[in-house]
Symmetry: C2
């Protein structure tokens, strides 16, 4: 008798930014497989479940994706109700797509429960909307940490004039900024890097594009962080920028 | 004595895809200003509140943004606890940014509560991850319905090779597709248009890019809909596509 796997988004950090549906799945769980980026306060919703931490932080030693897939499948085959709990949303740089394929191939019933993604909620917590009609037609989410080491097409992204939100970009920041400047992005484009967004431990640094790598280094900001590049950063609830905007409004 | 305004994302449709924090704000509300795209089942969380429907659907007669801003401010000045409840996330094509600026200018205390955006959760409900390492470096969210009638830079978006998720694009679909083809996008690029995603009334149509406008017309799909364009659409839980993928996996 097969169990079931829920692939669940835990949201950006603030434990109240989880969905009712995610909480319902946690209450049903017999086993919860948790990523590093998930706030442990969320586990208060599943005191009955066995909790397994399967961190998968870029660069550190951690459980391989292949092993996580096998663990989910084996547990479900034993009849367990498994919640695979991931930071943010499981289908936006969450490898949820890969896990779903593994479950499909093994014939395991599953459900995906979308979450609030960090790339929207973390800037929002500082007053920054990733889109605003007066500034941009849209927003692009990219990752600085790719499987193949290849970079996104930064020149095309600059030409698109969308807000850029970069996940896992701190380590590659100097190279990313170099590429954006080479592609013609204005060196004074407003940027912000935000570590631990939506949590009390939140720290951020705001700077024009060409100074961003130095500012991040100086403030010693580290992963996990969200980087936002675009005119919407002017809307941040931070000192000088706010005042400028209020005058413009 | 001033009240307070919560700018709240109600999620993509499924009433259980709302956050705990949004529910908490609804329980505190004395007045709720609701958009058209919000599932009315969510109002069960605030039986105590006065509910005002302030629809603002593209093309239909509806309450103007200016009037909504004034209503929020007046109610807060009367000491009311106002929840401004918006479909999806308030800061991704939700005009939340504009409402926050109006509140700031009026000196009204406010809080933004992020939600699950339709552009991620609606494709996810059909098995489509907006990003997948094997297919793309990222995803771009754009709107087909812009303030100034201008179009996004489709050529740059094609060159970016990110998944494209288009909000409010049904009316401009023929023109959008023409622009994408002119910009060199493969005419066989997999696409899907999804109406009422995550709800029981959900309907969708999947087609290669050059047939998408005809397919949408034939199936009589209408707003509100999410359109996804990109190789990740191959991962949809739909017939033939699924099978191909399972073989590949």
């Amino acid at each position: 008798m097969n169990g079931m796997v829920y692939i669940v988004g835990a949201g950006p950090g603030d434990p109240d930014l989880i969905t009712l549906k995610a909480v319902q799945s946690l209450k049903l769980a017999t086993v919860v497989l948790v990523d590093d980026l998930v706030n442990v306060a969320i586990l208060n919703h599943c005191p009955q479940a066995r909790v397994v931490h399967v961190g998968k932080r870029g660069g550190c030693e951690s459980t391989s994706q292949h092993f996580i897939n096998r663990m989910m499948i084996s547990l479900a085959e034993l009849g367990q109700t498994v919640v695979r709990l991931k930071g943010g949303d499981p289908f936006l740089f969450g490898r949820g797509g890969e896990e779903v394929l593994a479950l499909k191939a093994a014939g395991i019933p599953y459900q995906v429960i979308s979450g609030v993604t960090s790339g929207i909620a973390v800037p929002a917590s500082l007053g920054i909307p990733v889109t605003h009609r007066a500034f941009t037609h849209g927003v692009t989410f990219v990752t600085g940490h790719t499987q193949d080491g290849q970079q996104p097409n930064w020149a095309a992204l600059v030409a698109s004039q969308t807000t850029l939100v970069i996940y896992m970009g701190i380590k590659q920041l100097a190279e990313i900024v170099k590429n954006l400047l080479a592609a013609g992005m204005d060196k004074s484009m407003p940027c912000i890097a935000i570590q631990h967004g939506t949590l009390e431990t939140e720290r951020h640094v705001s700077a024009p594009l060409d100074f961003l790598p130095m500012a991040v280094k100086q403030e010693n900001l580290a992963s996990p962080a969200i980087i936002v590049i675009g005119d919407v950063v002017r809307l941040a609830n931070t000192e000088r920028l706010l005042t400028e905007l209020e005058i413009a409004a």
